[in-house]
């Protein structure tokens, strides 16, 4: 079994290195194929491991080697395959495999095809380290590793020029990449602080040691640790106020968005909360804060998705919103539900993105849904895929999202946090609306795109590759019960109270009403083509939402620009004019006084004699005075 662990972990790494070998050569299809096959091997190994864990119920723990040891600190490269990590592994490798195969088609015409696979596989490897590590430092390796891969992949088309924010809200791929990296670093700092707190209070970073020692810690330490870790999670999972990078990250190639910015990396924050659940379950205040923030983000992101015109950004906002759901669940203590939603979301969101990729591919990289319409005929399969994914997202029964999201909303009700519940329900309606707004605007109605664009369906093998996701998006929900028994061996079980159980039909109905209502509204407005409402579009609220509450502008005006200005000032005014000038000033002062002192050296003997006499007489006077004082 240990070998399987290593195979699952290192197969993507081998793929990445293999692709990197060809990184600077022109496109080689076999690179993509080999990378994908290695990913599949990884998936297979993960699946076997999952089966093993499922059947035996025991975790596999391997320690590869020592990494850092200094003082009392000892960090090994240790990997832990238990119920939680194996779930993540399976989801990650599955989605990754699909995305890899998809990319062979999608990146077909890109000259950096090989490089892309190298990055993509490297990302999977980092993600695997993140989920499999048996300690916080290892988690941090993966954490930063996925960050850097995300940087590379968002900035994949680095050669694109910077443009004004009005033209492209993300300015350029490289800008978006840097933004993502830097925001994640802010979170990384939080995470590091969390690690430090844990180390200095426990003396180890191994999960098992830490969790075993938690009862000995004071609540303030726990709160601090939980908060710091959550700050880490906020960055990676793009929670408010560190959320802006995620939509900008859509500058990357669409498979990247599907894999990293929907299915896997962004859920790392949720994973962290789930992984460290012993800490969070001991800190109810922090947990509640997480839930509240998650709920807020769910609503907040959904609101922005309502009016957005960018195909990928809408999906990105929906990702944000769904992450909010997950946090809400995790914060309320329903860790397994959060994990389940995470998995289900991975499937349908990846599908949605890949579908969007198909559309982009067909539309020559056009993303504005106002300039689409009527693609149903040309892209039937894509339409179906996206429809299924949207249904799942909207939480329509049978589909995966229904089970998981409904459970979260019920949890909110069950915990007595009715405000949260209400917001989540409302958000569910909004989710349904914007998902279908997008579907209808893209596929229904009359064509609004330019004539020179000839939409065409994606390659067959790509569509086939997407099928597993579609199937899972439909059926995943049925495994909820099994999943619960599987993961709750490790995670605390969460059951609805009796009261909630009684009301479950009502609650489900309420959610459903909202969901269906949303879809209906979207159908009414958009199914028959786009009717633009100038008045609405000029309204304050609409503009506020379209501009993402002006938060990016706010950041630019109040953080980015002042930072640059202060830096400039520090350099030119402080460093050059004060610090350095002081040093030079001392030198200049000495030099100038040398020049002044030089004046005594007139060359005239008479002056010299005067100096001598002055000196002599002064000394005599001093002698006389001091003698009299003595």
């Amino acid at each position: 079994m240990e070998n399987l662990v290593y195979i699952a972990l290192f197969a993507p790494f081998v793929g990445s290195m293999f692709a990197a070998l060809f990184g600077m050569s022109p496109k080689q299809t076999f690179v993509g194929i080999i990378a994908s096959s290695l990913l599949f091997i990884s998936f297979a190994a993960s699946a076997v491991l999952a089966f093993h864990v499922y059947t035996t119920g025991t975790a596999i723990h391997v320690t590869m080697m020592e990494w850092i040891s200094a003082g009392d600190l000892m960090i090994p490269f240790g990997f832990l395959v238990d119920q939680v990590s194996v779930t993540m592994m399976t989801v990650v490798t599955l989605v990754s495999t699909v995305v890899h195969i998809y990319s062979i088609g999608y990146m077909d015409h890109d000259k950096s095809f090989n490089r892309f696979f190298s990055y993509l596989s490297a990302f999977v490897f980092s993600m695997m380290i993140l989920v499999m590590s048996d300690n916080f430092a290892g988690l941090f390796i993966g954490w930063e590793g996925v960050g850097v891969c995300s940087w590379l992949l968002i900035g994949f088309w680095y050669h694109k020029e910077d443009v004004a924010r009005e033209k492209n809200p993300s300015i350029s791929p490289s800008w978006a990449a840097n933004e993502a990296f830097i925001v994640n670093r802010i979170a990384g700092l939080g995470m590091l602080i969390g690690i430090f707190i844990i180390y200095w209070n426990v003396g180890s970073l191994q999960y098992d040691v830490v969790f075993a020692d938690l009862p000995n810690l004071s609540s303030s330490v726990l709160n601090a640790a939980a908060l710091a870790l959550f700050i880490g999670a906020m960055g990676k999972s793009a929670q408010f106020p560190l959320h802006t990078w995620l939509t900008d990250a859509m500058e990357g190639p669409t498979p990247v968005s599907a894999l990293i910015h929907a299915a896997t990396m962004v859920t790392a924050g949720v994973f962290l909360i789930i992984r460290a659940n012993p800490i969070f379950s001991m800190t109810p205040e922090v947990s509640f804060f997480i839930a509240a923030l998650g709920t807020f983000v769910a609503f907040f992101a959904a609101s922005m998705a309502l009016v957005n015109r960018d195909l990928k950004r809408i999906i990105a906002f929906s990702t944000l919103s769904q992450l909010g759901y997950m946090f809400a669940a995790a914060g309320l203590g329903a860790y397994w539900i959060a994990l389940f939603h995470l998995a289900a979301h991975a499937f349908f969101k990846a599908l949605l993105f890949l579908g969007a990729g198909n559309v982009m591919h067909a539309m020559d990289d056009e993303l504005d849904i106002f300039k689409m319409g009527g693609l149903k005929k040309a892209m039937n399969w894509t339409y179906i895929y996206m429809g299924v994914a949207s249904l799942a997202l909207a939480g329509i029964p049978i589909f995966a999202g229904f089970f998981s999201k409904d459970a979260i909303i019920e949890t909110a009700f069950n915990e007595g946090t009715y405000v949260l519940w209400a917001i989540l329900v409302l958000t569910a309606g909004m989710t349904a609306f914007y998902s279908f707004r997008q579907v209808f605007l893209t596929f229904h109605g009359a064509k609004r795109y330019k004539d020179e664009i000839h939409p065409h369906e994606m390659y067959k093998f790509v569509l086939i590759a997407m099928a597993p996701l579609a199937i899972l998006a439909v059926i995943a929900g049925f495994f909820m019960g099994g999943f619960q028994t599987f993961v709750t061996k490790l995670l605390p079980n969460y059951e609805m109270s009796h009261h909630t159980h009684e009301l479950i039909v009502v609650l489900t109905a309420v959610v459903l009403v909202f969901a269906v209502g949303g879809i209906w509204l979207a159908y009414k407005k958009y199914a028959n083509g786009l009717k633009r409402d100038e008045k609405l579009e000029n309204s304050f609220l609409y503009k506020l939402l379209a501009n993402q509450y002006y938060i990016p502008q706010f950041y630019e005006e109040f953080i980015t620009k002042p930072y640059a200005m202060i830096s400039e000032k520090m350099w030119k005014d402080i460093d050059m004019k004060i610090v350095d000038a002081t040093v030079d000033g001392i030198a200049k002062f000495l030099y100038k006084s040398g020049d002044k002192a030089r004046a005594m050296q007139t060359g005239n003997l008479s002056n010299y004699l005067n100096w001598m006499a002055v000196g002599g007489v002064l000394l005599l006077i001093v002698a006389a005075i001091s003698a009299m004082l003595a």
């Binding site: 004699l609 001598m612 002599g616 000394l619």
Partner: protein, 454 residues
């Protein structure tokens, strides 16, 4: 009627006089040789001088420590032997530079070498006595020779230099005489060991402090002039500039060694007697000297003048060590000066070697910095040597003056004067700039093209 005095020859201890007599005899031999044959080449005299100095050196080495001779006028103690040896070695390093193939006026005189030997004898008398009369006479013998040697370089600058030096020297002599008079009035003696005895008994007499302080001040003025302490240093840069380069180097070392020895004897006596005031005054003068000379050296355009100021600054350094009046302090003075002697003479010699007869680079200066631009390309070995001398002067380890510096600073620290050590350190840092400036010119700049160089 006075009784005739019977003095046995042994009790005179004439051996104590041997070194000086050798030098004087040597000078006379040179004069006589010149009388016999006036056309002898200077190389003869150079070699003769070196030989005489070697004999002198040997005779000095043969002296026994802690002896007095000739009615106690001569004093041969450790200090006097060491300083005589240093004086002779310094002279021996200096004199071969006369062999230069360029003809300079002074070397056409055999008297130059005779005067030089008389001067050495004068310095030796100065350091080998604690009698103020002999010190005075020795000092004047040496000084008068030195004035003449400077003037013999025979150009307007050297006359100007000689006259400036002479006139200020005369004034200093007057102060020295007045100081001696006060000392004599206080103690009835001009022999320092006796002075110390008597003064110790008179220290507590009321109203006398002013005379004691006054005597020290008057003597201090005279020696501050010799040692070029602020504000009595004004002659130094001009005289160094006017004199030929080797003589300037010589002046920065050998006469100062003699003056330091006398200062150690005189002011050490005061400090030993418990006149703390003298120490403070010397320290203040020393600190002022090193600092002011340093900042004035910063702005010089001429290397020789810069070296002149740097020599002043180094003298300040040493004077501070002198004020400590500890064994370590005194030892460090000699160590410092021994190391400084080689370095500074070396540096001035490099100027001498690179000397042009006409001023090609500057209307006024012989050795402006520009002249040394790109020296490494013109004269690589010379440049490297000059660079080493500069680094040594700057106190960069492991070159010689560094060791002197740490000894002096250690002496200051040991005596409890940490602030002084810090001031010394900071001054060394300032000083590094102007030494570095020459290195920068020599190594980092390109030669000036349109002037023909060496």
């Amino acid at each position: 009627m006075l009784e005739p005095i019977n003095v046995s020859l042994e009790s005179l201890n004439l051996i104590t006089l041997a070194p000086m007599l050798i030098a004087i005899a040597g000078g006379l031999i040179i004069l006589i040789l010149d009388l016999i044959n006036g056309k002898l080449h200077k190389s003869l005299y150079v070699m003769l001088t070196i030989l005489i100095l070697m004999v002198d050196f040997g005779a000095t080495l043969g002296l026994n420590v802690n002896e007095r001779g000739f009615f106690d006028v001569m004093l041969i103690d450790g200090i006097s032997i060491i300083s005589q040896l240093m004086i002779i070695v310094g002279s021996m390093i200096f004199i071969p530079l006369a062999l230069t193939s360029k003809r300079f006026h002074e070397y056409s005189y055999p008297e130059f070498f005779a005067l030089f030997l008389f001067m050495v004898a004068g310095f030796q008398f100065m350091v080998a006595s604690d009698n103020l009369i002999l010190i005075f006479v020795g000092l004047e013998t040496a000084s008068l020779s030195l004035y003449t040697l400077i003037a013999l370089h025979n150009r307007s600058n050297s006359y100007e230099a000689a006259v400036k030096y002479f006139t200020m020297g005369a004034l200093a002599a007057a102060f020295f005489a007045m100081g001696s008079a006060v000392v004599y009035a206080l103690t009835g003696s001009v022999e320092l060991y006796k002075v110390a005895e008597v003064m110790a008994t008179r220290l507590n007499e009321p109203g006398l402090m002013i005379a004691i302080f006054g005597s020290s001040v008057l003597l201090l003025i005279a020696f501050s002039f010799k040692l070029s302490l602020f504000p009595f240093h004004t002659w130094a840069p001009d005289v160094y500039e006017g004199a030929s380069a080797p003589l300037a180097g010589y002046m920065s070392v050998v006469p100062k060694i003699a003056a330091f020895v006398v200062s150690i004897r005189i002011f050490g006596m005061y400090i030993d007697l418990g006149v703390e005031w003298v120490r403070i005054v010397i320290l203040v003068l020393a600190v002022l000297t090193m600092t002011l000379a340093n900042i004035m050296a910063l702005v010089q355009e001429d290397v020789k003048r810069m070296l002149a100021y740097s020599s002043i600054s180094h003298a300040g350094f040493i004077m501070a060590a002198l004020a400590l009046d500890t064994t370590e302090g005194t030892t460090s003075i000699f160590l410092y000066y021994a190391l400084f002697m080689f370095t500074n003479l070396g540096a001035f010699s490099m100027l001498w070697i690179s000397r042009h007869k006409n001023r090609r680079f500057d209307a006024r200066y012989d050795h402006p910095y520009e002249k040394f631009a790109g020296f490494i390309q013109i004269m690589p070995i010379g440049a490297v040597m000059m660079g080493l001398f500069m680094l040594s002067l700057a106190g960069v380890p492991p070159f010689s003056v560094f060791w002197g510096k740490i000894y002096v600073m250690q002496a200051a620290v040991n005596a409890g004067y940490i602030w002084l050590a810090i001031v010394m350190g900071l001054n060394s840092a300032i000083a590094a700039y102007y030494y570095l400036k020459l290195i920068v010119y020599m190594f980092l700049m390109d030669p000036i093209k349109d002037v023909d160089t060496i």
